[in-house]
Subunit: 517 residues, 2 copies
Amino acid sequence: MTETRIRFGILGCANIARKVSRAMLLSPNTTISAVGSRSLNKATAFALENHFPESAKVYGSYDAVLDDPDVDAVYVPLPTSLHLKWAVLAAEKKKHILLEKPVALNVGELDTILEACESSGVQFMDATMWMHHPPRDIHIPSHQPKLSTQNFHIQKMTETRIRFGILGCANIARKVSRAMLLSPNTTISAVGSRSLNKATAFALENHFPESAKVYGSYDAVLDDPDVDAVYVPLPTSLHLKWAVLAAEKKKHILLEKPVALNVGELDTILEACESSGVQFMDATMWMHHPRTVKMKDILCDQQKFGQLKSVHSNFSYKGEGDFLKNDIRVNPNLDSLGALGDQGWYSIRAILWANDYELPKTVTALRDPEYNELGVILSCGASLNWNESGKVATFYCSFLSNLSMDIIALGTKGNFRVHDFVIPFNEKVGPFYAVANSRWAELSTGCVPEPSEFKITTDLPQEALMVQEFARLVEGICNGEAKPEKKWPILSRKTQLVIDAVITSIKNGFEPVEVVY
Amino acid sequence: MTETRIRFGILGCANIARKVSRAMLLSPNTTISAVGSRSLNKATAFALENHFPESAKVYGSYDAVLDDPDVDAVYVPLPTSLHLKWAVLAAEKKKHILLEKPVALNVGELDTILEACESSGVQFMDATMWMHHPPRDIHIPSHQPKLSTQNFHIQKMTETRIRFGILGCANIARKVSRAMLLSPNTTISAVGSRSLNKATAFALENHFPESAKVYGSYDAVLDDPDVDAVYVPLPTSLHLKWAVLAAEKKKHILLEKPVALNVGELDTILEACESSGVQFMDATMWMHHPRTVKMKDILCDQQKFGQLKSVHSNFSYKGEGDFLKNDIRVNPNLDSLGALGDQGWYSIRAILWANDYELPKTVTALRDPEYNELGVILSCGASLNWNESGKVATFYCSFLSNLSMDIIALGTKGNFRVHDFVIPFNEKVGPFYAVANSRWAELSTGCVPEPSEFKITTDLPQEALMVQEFARLVEGICNGEAKPEKKWPILSRKTQLVIDAVITSIKNGFEPVEVVY
């Protein structure tokens, strides 16, 4: 926390002001001391809805904000035609100005505003937010003297950044690229595609650093000495070949899930990694969300959760448009595991996670899985058993149902639920719901306590936390301080073993299949 | 809706005023036209938070409310020491007065207030809420001249009340007795127990009407000509005998669940009911909550839900204290179905309900059910299949896990969740969560829309709505206007058939069992 906080006044209750108000409350060196609107009721409601500090004042006019001695700077989200009047007035009242864009109706108006600022010695900045996004390299032309990020909070830069190469331009790679740019200890040094044009466009569209190289092949990425680690979002059927090659080239590997078509393939990959001494991790992003840690704390709490008795998880989303015809996830030559590999992977991981990664003794597929005409699974499920203490788990995954992402875990003393476990609805806040030691109310007309909502915030999206953790492990290996972390390949292998068992159970007429590590 | 609505003004923003404001918005003959506080901001916030109509005015003083010609009556939740001043002023301004209790610091002050009311011809009432609770018989002594319910909305009293007899003093019968007293078309005319003392104590403790008879046997209840219908909360193993006897005595039957030990027994009961022409209904309370209707509306909505693909339901609660040793639900001679009959009944009903009561083609028990040493089920589950379009359902029930009561239903276009489907956490408000046509946000960093919370309020608890509906059917039969409604025995039988199939599947080594009506 900075000791000095610049106190903002806000002119008007424009919609955009909601977002910027939140920013003022989030930033460590700012606060909000006033808001003014032509309607006092509107200003009051705005302050309430946007969680202004109790000390903030609400006014029924803009003038009152400018006259408030507790206002250091004003943010002006008024309609552009009002900028000239109110920005000049603000400057005359010695208020620094953060002005929404477009800043004026024409350059003549803007000049009048800038002259007023200069003559009053106040700072002027327009509200072009993306200019302040930290991890990208922004080249600010020297003739824009006042533009600076120095007033804004930027995540501390780590000196060492692990340099990623990316194999292929899959859709998911856009999100993970962003994560590599957001994470403080990673950068992107290369991307390869079978088409150089595609790789070039991908680098541009995803704001790769100018230093990043683009290649017309995957091999070239593996041969690049400036690549420390590769991210492999290729179709599953290509994982065996490229992950093994990458390991042989001593590249650490972040591999998209499902990691392989079966555990045999995965073992070949893992052996290559082990023999080369490189880190392996699958890209199961939700494992890295701080919410996942908090939920695990609940699961491990003997008083608030007790012994785990049952878990149910479902992950579904509707394959829209041509997804069910053309997506790689329904193509038997590319991703023959279909919904089981794509969605079931997460639900199976959730069940293992809740069971402290203890493999089930048996897996029994649910009847009536659905397939496309090429034999790829579109929906399926299974029950998992540990042959002890009645513990049971079920999951369901589907390309044919509307989006759902639930875990319900029941313990002897408590339970918890989460409804967006794979990808939080909101990137910055992950909620979950837990309750312990429930009892019926008098006459069983209700029960107490009601489940509580826990909201876990995160500064970085879960995929950025994933690449950050991966890079941390890689850095330790590169520095000679650590060996590859074995937890991650073991979790991948256990997940893959359950996937294989579901496939086998379906083939064997839904009989239970034993699972052995 | 009443055409004339009395317009309330509220003096102050006391905590209790939140509840009474809600009441003014709920009552069909009132509305809120103003609120005043010494702080305008506080009044504005209060109006917003309590969902006042947009037309409501907010004032920074109490005087302004009294001067408002659009205010017919004032509600005064101010501190008691301010009552004298503001109630007298209100009376002088010709405002009717609803005054919070205690109404004054002493009877002298109250007399001054009452004189002001009398001289202005305005109505005075204190805010003793329970005086207005409709179904109980309230004897208002004649020396309380002003106390009246005439300004408040009271549920219409039905002239005919179906007279219940109750067999046994089970714990659950306390709640259902209360329901019979709350429901406007029922009353209790008798209770029988093997112990006359127990029956007498039960009638007293549960506030039975003075006219209710208490008997030392079940037979006596069945022989009482003042009993129209019986409620049977006896242990399941006694249902066959007493339900058949009741039907033979021409008593309509509200039967606790599980209705029988197996479908053979149930069929004997249903045949007796049919041959006597009496109504049969099982006591599955949540079926009668208005929330259940709203959720069904979603399930049937082709645009917001589409085709049902998957349902999961779990109901569990921890058997505390000596429950696992002594409760009838774990006694093989009384309730041999254990958790399956007690809890599984609800989850199975939920699955049938979501499937428009279409029976599954097969039922397959989940492995590892738990038993007590006498062979009664303490936890179990099953998967249900319809052998079509990949539709699948799973459920889990347990006496060994903390309380949970979930349904998750997935459709091709939407889904919904409810987390207290059996007994709402809050007796008056049942929430559920639904979302439709979800899609990934840009870069799949989230998804939109987020699920919406729907809160369904009810004036009567679900068990009172159940006995009300049962009594409505009985009244139709008694009047000769209708035959027994067949829907309810059919639903009971379908639920029992699935229970039987789960038992058979467990016995057959978890093989699928065909279900045929």
